[in-house]
């Protein structure tokens, strides 16, 4: 399968034994979707069906969507760079882009929007950052050399919440 012109991906084991996947893409929804698919395909042998797989795809999708929607990164083929490392049950994600800095130079809040109130006032957005914060840890942002850099980690070993045996009745 050949990559579209604005999506590149590569990966493989490093000397230290951890698994690394790198992808670059333009900040456009179609390219981001393709890049996400390539990263997940690259990670598939290392993630399998573990509980962290779903969280990884969701967190990465939210991070990339935020770049497209808010940072207005350029249409350059390498506007967004994604790097994922998997080692010992831990996944480290690093995403950088050449778009505008985060407002105030800091990460947005992680509170889910309120669902109280009538149907007409239900929120249709504002879920992205709270989802990222609730699934990932060590979420860090910095602006460096004119690029946004976001780093976070995901635990791939399912915590008790999803795998705990059912209490006997």
């Amino acid at each position: 399968m050949s990559a579209p012109p604005h999506v590149q991906a590569s990966g493989g084991p490093s000397r230290t034994g951890d698994r690394r996947v790198v992808a670059r893409c333009a900040a456009r929804p179609a390219d981001v979707r393709t890049a996400l698919g390539r990263v997940m395909a690259g990670l598939a042998p290392h993630l399998g069906d573990c509980a962290g797989r779903t969280a990884t795809e969701l967190v990465l999708a939210e991070v990339l969507n935020n770049v497209v929607e808010h940072a207005h990164a350029s249409d350059a083929p390498c506007a967004i760079r994604v790097e994922v490392r998997v080692r010992e049950g831990r996944l480290d994600l690093s995403v950088s882009d050449d778009g505008r800095p985060m407002p105030g130079g800091r990460l947005p809040e992680g509170q889910f929007p309120s669902l109280a109130g009538p149907k007409a006032t239900l929120p249709e957005g504002g879920f992205g950052w709270p989802l990222i914060h609730s699934l990932a840890r060590d979420v860090r942002y910095r602006r460096r050399y004119g690029r946004n850099e976001l780093r976070l980690a995901l635990c791939l070993k399912a915590p008790g919440a999803t795998t705990a045996p059912k209490t006997p009745q």
């Binding site: 929804p29 179609a30 981001v32 979707r33 779903t54 795809e57 969701l58 999708a61 939210e62 969507n65 497209v68 929607e69 889910f112 669902l115 149907k119 007409a120 239900l122 929120p123 249709e124 957005g125 879920f127 992205g128 709270p130 989802l131 609730s134 699934l135």
Partner: protein, 117 residues
């Protein structure tokens, strides 16, 4: 955005025929849902719309927002219910608490027969 529509037992059943409802298709999904749930030429509106998500493997917050928007654009008392959520889709609804807003059925069949779920 591939959506198939059929009316069954007074319910407008909308099946998503694609594996993803994400930022790439969210606006098209919302627009298609608006067409599908608009009042008929005769003035009748579907009182109950059932969204079959059985073939959807992934949804992000944009897709979730589009489903909320589809519910909000329904006429008056009409309801949007959901069926057959895959684990990854269910997870997004639970994390955002949207599972408390929508009626969610295990399957299309249980939704149509009212047999729990």
């Amino acid at each position: 955005m591939e959506l198939s529509v059929q009316d069954r037992d007074g319910v407008r059943l909308v099946s998503v025929a694609e594996p993803r409802i994400d930022a790439f298709v969210a606006i098209r999904f919302k627009d298609r849902m608006r067409e599908i749930t608009a009042p008929d030429p005769g003035g009748g509106t579907p009182g109950r719309v059932l969204l079959d998500l059985g073939r959807v493997e992934f949804i992000d917050s944009s897709g979730l927002g589009a489903i909320v928007a589809a519910m909000k654009q329904l006429d008056g008392a009409a309801r949007l219910e959901l069926a057959a959520l895959a684990p990854a889709v269910d997870k997004v609804f639970r994390l955002t608490r949207m599972d408390t807003i929508f009626t969610i059925h295990d399957s299309v069949d249980t939704a149509l027969t009212g047999a729990g779920g």
